[in-house]
């Protein structure tokens, strides 16, 4: 009878495709919007992810997320180093500085100053040059996206038309930058994770970064800490807090704290949540109505089967099989389309991260959709009097 159920389902191609479309639409919208949401949230702590060596981030207790900059006194570094269980601790500068472009415009850059001696906290991937080149005078490393776009140089101007000839020229190794009235020379190009803020990222040494930065008493943004082997990082965080009065979080805790901040204080979750809910509702409505119409159209056939001896359980099984098939196909099409969306968007700046939980949750939502969609049909068929077959 399973074959009969499937033949019935696929026999009416318009409705069959309509139900699949409803489920696929819901799956696509839920998966795609949730993946973009997760992608955006991942970007919020992209800098933490890129800085892989330390276990613990130490900061001012009032800091709420990664871009909430509340500098510390440099002496705090030594206090942290003195806490039992700390293997090493290095300073990190993070601040927004203005770069002057060759056309006279200014561009705000995210300047990262890493420990002069160890260069811990550097970019995760070098495309050109080497991290050690930061030891050269006035040297900086610029991220590839920033170098190609916002920090790119103006093309030559056609004297006849006064218009630029060709596209902008990406910043390359050997080029100069003016950071807050300080000369800087590009010694490397790196790749970093996209962050929630879209400024170009400029790496340099901690000492040089503090000279680029405006004069302030406190300039050290974070202390990066590595725990000694065998030390519990959470316990070490507690000890650092108790000893220094500073806040100390593991990388995971700091990332999650950043995500929670953006979720709590921005409308992002609500906006994406609405899209996901709409996808669910519209998908349920389309799939439910089409599936119910399909059942109504086949009511006489179900009546005939009932008259011929097919019991309610068997008919229920047939409907559930039909719902399962359209659910599986629609889910596959929807999630596949979402994955294709990511593939087609390729190298764009689209924030898209499909973690395994998203397809899993979408699968649960699709299950709910097909159950709701088939529920009306099941009730209709169970209540169906087989005598309907004798009505002309």
């Amino acid at each position: 009878m399973n074959l009969v159920a499937l033949r019935m389902l696929m026999g009416d191609k318009a409705k069959y495709l309509g139900i699949i479309f409803g489920v696929a639409f819901a799956s696509l919208l839920m998966t795609q919007q949730a993946s973009i949401f997760v992608g955006l949230m991942t970007r919020t702590f992209g800098f933490v992810s890129d800085t892989g060596q330390p276990d613990i981030w130490v900061m001012d207790p009032k800091v709420q997320f990664i871009d909430d900059l509340k500098p510390l006194q440099d002496t705090m570094l030594y206090r942290v180093r003195g806490v039992e269980g700390v293997d090493w601790a290095v300073p990190l500068y993070k601040g927004l500085l203005r770069a002057r472009l060759d056309n006279g415009n200014f561009q705000t850059c995210n300047v990262i100053g890493i420990d002069d001696g160890t260069l811990i906290g550097g970019p995760p991937e070098m495309i050109e040059g080497s991290l050690a080149d930061l030891r050269r005078a006035d040297s900086v490393i610029v991220d590839i996206v920033g170098a190609s776009t916002r920090l790119a140089k103006q093309p030559p101007i056609d004297p006849a038309t006064g218009k630029p000839i060709g596209p902008r020229v990406p910043l390359k190794v050997g080029d100069f930058l003016e950071l807050n009235d300080n000369r800087a020379v590009v010694v490397g190009i790196c790749r970093v994770s996209r962050t929630f803020q879209s400024q170009p990222v400029v790496y340099t040494t901690y000492t040089r970064a503090t000279t680029f930065a405006p004069r302030e008493r406190r300039l050290m943004t974070f202390v990066l800490v590595k725990s000694k082997p065998g030390t519990d990082t959470r316990e070490l965080c507690v000890r650092i807090r108790q000893t220094t009065g500073l806040a100390a979080y593991t990388s995971g805790e700091f990332s999650w704290m950043t995500v929670l901040y953006f979720m709590r204080f921005t409308g992002i979750p609500i906006n994406f949540g609405i899209s996901v809910i709409l996808g669910f509702l519209v998908g349920t409505a389309i799939a439910g109505q089409t599936f119910y119409n399909f059942t109504l159209d086949n009511l006489k056939q179900f009546g005939a089967l009932k008259a011929m001896g097919a019991g309610n359980l068997r008919l229920l099984g047939m409907i559930m099989l039909q719902a399962l098939v359209v659910g599986l196909i629609g889910y596959g099409v929807g999630v596949g389309a979402a994955a294709s969306f990511k593939y087609l968007s390729g190298q764009s700046e689209l924030a898209f991260r499909m973690i395994w939980q998203i397809p899993a949750i979408t699968a649960c939502a699709v299950t709910v959709i097909v159950v709701l969609a088939s529920l009306l049909s099941i009730i209709k068929v169970i209540r169906l009097e087989p005598a309907i077959v004798f009505k002309g």
């Binding site: 009969v4 019935m8 696929m10 026999g11 009932k306 008259a307 011929m308 097919a310 087989p386």
Partner: protein, 261 residues
């Protein structure tokens, strides 16, 4: 005509048990429906016996209760009062599941609008009752093709219903009604959607192929052209059997083809 009518229409119950067993025995069957607060009495004390090997027709005006009676006899409607046994089994004593199983094994249906599943081929349609009864798919299809061959559609086993004429579709429906060898075949207006010639072909098929000594046929019809195929005609009106015509083919011969002329 009068000579072949029952002299007591109010007691139209026929006990023709001599020689053959009873396929259907109904006594005092009533059935009512409630609609808009009013109760409509569709059956008002039906007495009906149909013997094994008999082709019985139920005729009468629209709304007289034919379809209700056939539904009660086939076990798809529950009677309100009275007794109704099919091959000695009383539906009233069966659970819903037992009734469904009994129907699946014992009753074959031929519907006015054929009610073939449009997405299934002729063979797959015919196989449905076997599949319902748990026969394996391959065996069911094999039996269905053999049955289609018996009704003259051996060449059309892979055709979809929409690719068949009305007469061919009804032959598929007859094959479907017979494939699981039910002892009772119930037909609802099997020829009303067919032309004269095709209607006669279908009736010949029902009479010659579907009917045997261990099986009974009950046909609800308005179609006077096929009355001559019946062994007995039960004429109904207002929820009662008001007349019984025996051996109508003889009377058709005498009256020029219309048993109720």
């Amino acid at each position: 005509m009068t000579s072949i009518m029952n002299e007591h229409p109010q007691a139209a119950r026929i006990h023709e048990t001599a020689g053959r067993g009873l396929a259907i025995h109904c006594s005092g069957v009533t059935k009512g429906f409630t609609a808009g607060g009013n109760t409509i009495r569709a059956l008002r004390g039906i007495d009906l016996d149909v013997r094994l090997g008999e082709l019985a027709m139920l005729v009468g005006p629209s709304g007289c209760g034919k379809t209700t009676l056939i539904s009660v006899v086939a076990g798809i409607l529950d009677r309100d009062e009275g007794e109704c046994r099919v091959f000695g089994q009383d539906f009233a004593t069966m659970s819903a599941r037992q009734k469904t199983r009994f129907r699946g094994q014992t009753v074959g249906f031929v519907f006015q609008q054929f009610n073939l599943l449009p997405a299934l081929t002729a063979a797959q349609n015919v196989a449905v009752p076997l599949l319902i009864n748990g026969v394996a798919h391959a065996a069911a299809i094999k039996a269905a093709k053999e049955m289609l061959d018996r009704v003259g559609l051996g060449e059309r086993t892979e055709s979809l219903p929409k690719q068949l004429s009305g007469g061919q579709q009804q032959r598929v429906a007859i094959a479907r009604a017979m494939v699981h060898r039910p002892r009772l075949i119930v037909c609802d207006e099997p020829t009303s959607a067919l032309d004269h010639e095709t209607g006669h072909t279908v009736m010949r098929l029902l009479k010659n192929v579907a009917l045997d000594e261990d099986r009974a046929l009950v046909i609800v019809t308005h179609d006077a052209r096929i009355f001559g195929f019946a062994d007995r005609i039960f004429k109904m009106d207002d929820g009662r059997i008001v007349d019984v015509v025996r051996n109508p083919s003889a009377s058709i011969g005498a009256s020029g083809g219309d048993a109720h002329a």
